[in-house]
Amino acid sequence: MTEKLIFELSSPGRQGITFPDIDVPTAPLQKLLPGNYLREEAPDLPEVSELDTVRHFVRLSRMNFGVDVGFYPLGSCTMKYNAKVAEDAASLPGFTNLHPYQPAELTQGALQLMYEMQRDLAEITGMDEFTLQPAAGAHGEMTGMLIIKAYLESRGETKRTKVIVPDSAHGTNPASATMCGFKVVEVKSDERGGVDLESLKQVLGPDVAALMLTNPSTLGLFEDNIKEIADLVHRAGGLLYYDGANLNAIMGYARPGDMGFDVVHLNLHKTFGTPHGGGGPGSGPVGVKAKLAPFLPKPVVVKQGDRYDLDYQRPQSIGRVKAFYGNFGVVVKAYTYIRALGGGGLKQVSEHAVLNANYIKHRLSDQLRIPFPRLCMHEFVASPPKDLKEKGVKTLDIAKRLLDYGYHPPTVYFPLIVEEALMIEPTETENKETLDQFADSLIKVLAEARENPDTLKNAPYTTPVRRLDEVTAARKPVLGWFPE
């Protein structure tokens, strides 16, 4: 099953929507815009009917896998169920029809929602102030690192040019630090999967601006030396940055602010259940301790008496990282989610996310190699059994075969420090039956791999398309449709 491109459905003269005639007196276009400004011909967009368009995109949707279609244990992405009530809330006309430059008196509901969101996120993370402006987690990382940079500069500490990142970190961490003009230094993990304290001590010094850390780590493990790490970094004059990708594991149990983190970013689309949208829009709020608050992007939502407003008078602010106030529509969904659960409910989220992860890990512990045999948090990392390697079966083959069983595979080949890594994150919204069926399927796939490795190497068989030639795609890029 393949689908024609929308351009290939085009027929000259067809149109999906018509517009009313212009109802004001008109002038010849050439009089309004000089001829040398005008296109000679209309851009070559498709010409299709509304039905053509709807059918085309509905057919495409049927070739796509989302959480509503099936189990999606993509590690580090927290693919939990996205409540429908939040979708409805975000599409209320009172939210969708607001122009960002409307006066505050007409947007009190939106501002109240944003203000309460800032306060809730501060409470959940143990930070003092929040900005909702960053559009995604990585955007939040950049924002957080720029705040750290501005803070250090305000203290005259311009020689702090290094940022330490563990070898297990998300790729966005080093990329974000580099975008902010920092030099990245990697620190090794120890045999328990935590930051190696001796290696850390060796790289800490007067040139260090910050350590970026995910806790629980990308290995799904809680960094139990966190207090010592925080002390070491702070004593060296650096700051501690929290990558909130894994917050779903600890809500109500522990807070980054109490662990000693100075700056955090969150991924609302992960922890707070907003849809991932096929790769966005996300939302990446950043929280800071009070001493860093003056550097937050402007404007910040403030409350004065009973009235909410946008505060632009922030002379030490890093500026802004995008136009307007962030992905407001996404914030509405996350706010709805938080109000659905409340503090107690959020703790139960983490409780069950961790329970589910440990349960699957337990079911698979004699089938896969578990490099760090500790309790895991909301996800865990594993490697395929050794004998599969001899048969030439790779993690990618296991992932592709799982597609035939109706699952989105776990994250593969990340973190980089685990051989042939397979990272499983079930989230709290899956029931035991789904977890058991998934474990059974994976066990079956491993058995298939032993009996007939080719079954896996040629998988998948049941998907709309099968293994794609990614090498040619990159070597001879075809990045768009061109008329014949």
Binding site: T2, R14, F19, I22, V24, T26, L33, N36, Y37, L38, R39, A42, P43, L45, P46, E47, T53, H56, F57, V58, L60, S61, F65, D68, V69, L74, N82, P93, T96, H99, Y101, L106, A110, G137, K149, T172, P275, G278, G279, G319, R320, V321, K322, A323, G329, V332, R339, A340, G344, V354, L403, N431, V465, R466, R467, D469, P477, V478, L479, G480
Partner: protein, 446 residues
Amino acid sequence: MKFIPHTEEERRQMLAALKINHTDQLFQDIPEEVRLKRDLNVAGGLSEMELSRHMADLAKLNSGTDEYICFLGAGAYDHYVPSAVKHILSRSEFYTAYTPYQPEISQGVLQSIFEYQSMIRILTGMDAANASMYDGASALAEAALMACATTKRDAVVVARTVHPEYRETLNTYMSGPGIKVTEVNYQDGVTTVQEAAKVLDKNTAALLVQYPNFFGCIEDLTGLAEAAHAVGALLVVCADPVALGLLKSPGQCGADIVVGEGQALGLPLSYGGPYVGFLACKDKFLRRMPGRIVGQTVDVDGKRSYVLTLQAREQHIRRDKATSNICSNQALCALAVTVYLSLVGKKGLRQVAESCVQKTAYTRDLLAKIPGYELPWTTPVFKEFVIKTSRAPAEINRQLLRHNILGGLDLGLYYPELAGHMLICVTEKRSQQEIELLAQRLGAIA
């Protein structure tokens, strides 16, 4: 409300399998000293019925463009969104998916992005586009970084006619790596080639301009491109995609990188986001492009198919050497743009653009005739124009609000020299009656 399916019996079975009595035992790796020993003070735990009511109540505290006649633009536009757009977007196979890491079960979003890239390429007149950016402002900043990396220079020049918030964003992004930003002033609402040439030099990586610019005026891209290229700099254009239905593409005028905000193409105003940035460039800059890109390929059976490509530029592979840190972008918003552009098609986009031009011209002429209002410039405009007022714009807007009109942007907030000027926006949605009502009310105030 909870979205946790566990029954008591299932919990019991799972705990038994793990040989523990209580889930607290799963959290034993969290040291005592960092444990939260109280409940989170976060309101909630509402039933769905209470929650729906609460959200509706909050929404009702706002009054938007469905209640007020909107003449506000300045980077967020009240264009018509065809019904089919939101129906396609509410297909949960699209919105509950993540980044298409497994192309075999993600052809829907991959193909839609491939079509999006194609449409952006066609509109901008560039060779290739990426799979979306956060918004127009951050796309402009990323284009500046891209130009610096390409030219190996560390200074950029930006026109003051670029959206003030885009320039702020640019400054923030440039502050990290320490790239120098210089601004060029305007004359009669546009950037002159002479002024630009004065500040461009052999250290300049790019000249950044907006098309039509923040004042709605149309810049002379061809002249500006020549000025930039003369010193070996790139021309980066931040374009309104609706205007590109009518105006010559930036590519045709000599632009090297084209970015912009796609909100006008099928996304609601939504208090400023989520919107979608686009970024397109000439082939020779392809491997410096930030963000994700989808490419066409074939599968083992020879079927045409689509996949994330050129990933060697990306953060998950290149880490600190990546072309940008973008991971999640705005894929669902890019889908809205793709559906919108499919529905309006070749003719429709031109119709929308023409409607904007005609209605704006009509409004501009009408308002200029009212005593107390005059046009500072006669430069051609697209869907926005600047008007000088004899009374303070803030006062005018307050009065207009009483008549359910959202007046123009008070430019004095962003340009001190334009105190007493407003930026008025007229899209295809404004009727003759609404425009005349605005004129009538403004006349009454003046």
